[in-house]
């Protein structure tokens, strides 16, 4: 039995084409040399708050459960229409629900069937190395295995093929990678009703 390898830190900074740091971009790193990475036990939480998906974009490893957390004082009817991860359920005020069976990687577009303006995304990836960038555009991963990785940046409003841009990185020691995007970003849609009256008789 060999001792576990020391974690290697991979820092990624995501910059726009004009060099500005980009926040809330999903970044994930997939091994290209057959490195074996243990699946994460991280349970990602997708909140409903202020009649919107909060956060708007989430990322989780395919096969993990995802926690839906309704922090509003009303019921939501959450759904996804993606064929690999189709689900729908009602979640009452203050309730939480652990959603299982999200086993296929891919982009899951979610909505609420009561509040049509609500829109959120969940990206399911085949790697435990995933995260979202901070205000400074930075995210970091600890990997136990050196070697080549494909580092991908994804966002539903990234104007690139499949909404993602990738680069291959040979990770040996702790290293810092800059992902300067070549594609532009569309405006992130605001999840907001067109009517701010609180006592509407809908649904």
């Amino acid at each position: 039995m060999s001792a576990p390898a020391l974690a290697i830190e991979l820092n990624v900074q995501v910059l726009s084409a004009s060099g500005e740091p980009l926040q809330d971009m999903v970044v994930y790193a997939e091994p290209l040399d057959g490195q074996q990475l243990p699946a994460t036990d991280k349970v990602v939480s997708v909140g409903q708050k202020g009649k919107s998906f909060a956060p708007y974009v989430s990322v989780s490893q395919a096969g993990s459960d995802v926690l839906f957390d309704n922090q509003d004082d009303i019921t939501h009817h959450i759904y996804s229409v993606d064929s690999d991860a189709r689900f729908s359920f009602k979640i009452k005020a203050g309730e939480q629900r652990l959603q299982r069976g999200l086993d296929q990687s891919g982009e899951v577009a979610m909505g609420c069937n009561i509040h049509d303006w609500m829109s959120g995304y969940l990206l399911l990836v085949d790697t435990p190395l995933f995260g979202k960038t901070s205000q400074a555009g930075a995210v970091s991963f600890d990997t136990p295995e050196a070697g080549r990785y494909r580092v991908t940046v994804w966002h539903p409003q990234l104007l690139a093929d499949n909404n993602r841009e990738a680069q291959t990185v040979d990770v040996q020691n702790g290293m810092k990678v800059t992902a300067r995007l070549t594609s532009g970003m569309d405006e992130t849609p605001e999840q907001e009703s067109d009517d701010d009256f609180d006592f509407l008789s809908e649904y």
Binding site: T75, F89, A109, S119, S193, D195, D196, F197, F199, L200
Partner: protein
Amino acid sequence: MLNKGTVFAAIVSAGAVTQVSALESKLNGIIDYRLAHSDTSDSYRQGGIGKFGTDNGGQAYLGQAGLQWVLEWDSGLSFHAVANGYLDGEDNGLGITETFFKYRGIPNDSGHRLQSKVGLFYPAISLENKAFAWAAKNTLNSSTLNTWIGEEIRLLGAELTWTRLGKLNDADYDLSFTASGFFNNDPSGALLAWHGWTSSSRQTLWGEKRKIPPLEARKSGFKLEPQAAESDPFLELDDRPGYHLQTQVRWSRQGEINAGYYNNNARTDIVEHGQYTWLTRFYYVGARWLLDKKLELTAQYMTGDTLMNDVYGRPVVDNDYSSAFVMLSKRIGKHRVTGRIEEFSVTDKDQTVGDNNSEYGKAATLNYTYRYSKPLFLSVEHSWINSDRPGRVYSGEPADREERQLLLAVRYFF
């Protein structure tokens, strides 16, 4: 030790738990209490020719006690019942205004969604009456256009709506088409013909009749002698369904437009117990738009006709009508100011003696509402209507009339 009783209780409680988890019950409503001072004639609600919901002079009254109960299943099926009560000494009433089942499916992967309604419900025409129990959102009195919808238009039938959701189609708007088939709206048009356009917050309850104003033509020996003293808008007399078609486009964070066609498809030669069938048809178009986040523009236009024949098929009442309003509503924190202007008309095309339904008028409404707390709204509203209606002479009043109403209201939503 288990006995029969505990086993039974366990089964019952297990059943109850299952039911509770699959069902959600919601009760919402509105209480609207008002002080009114009006310079008008006796209200149309009691067979008068006044255009407001109250008589001349002052009064304090319960303008609306509305309750809506929604029972929702996890599947997207829901049951809706809406009751409204009015206590104002005019025509006090308590009853059902809508009751229906609704099913809203989950969109498919192309963002297409089907929704259906079965029961008694309003067609989604009004862009004002969107609060609980069909209360108007920004004013106390509805426009003449929507006051009429609330008085004579109701669908007892089935409706199917197809929606294409923009967010699943890279579009910033949702597109819907709705088709409905309905019964029990055969005499609709009668009240519009005989009292003209009116403005109030009163909805007609299911089964409720409304007095019609004095008409020369209802006197003995005249054409309308068989007409009952009260009109019942929600009758089925010819066993023929009517239909309603609508398209709606809704832009997220911007607003919506709707356009549609209503046709009650009534035969025009039936009279039963003094209630005639009226062939009533109209087109409408409306828009609600946020000019900025707190400035809302609403406008609706309707134009149509209504025809009532005698049993020999000769026209007795043959009217064209139209009504339009433009409303601007601005919110500044807890304050909201709303202004609305209207123009309306009825054109009498028949030759019936003693039944002139022609009318032309304008109206203006100014409302200030202060949101005292989240559910409590204090409003003051002034309405002005100037209309020329030759048929007023049957009530011994001049054809041309200017009417005013000042309302103070406390509205509580829950």
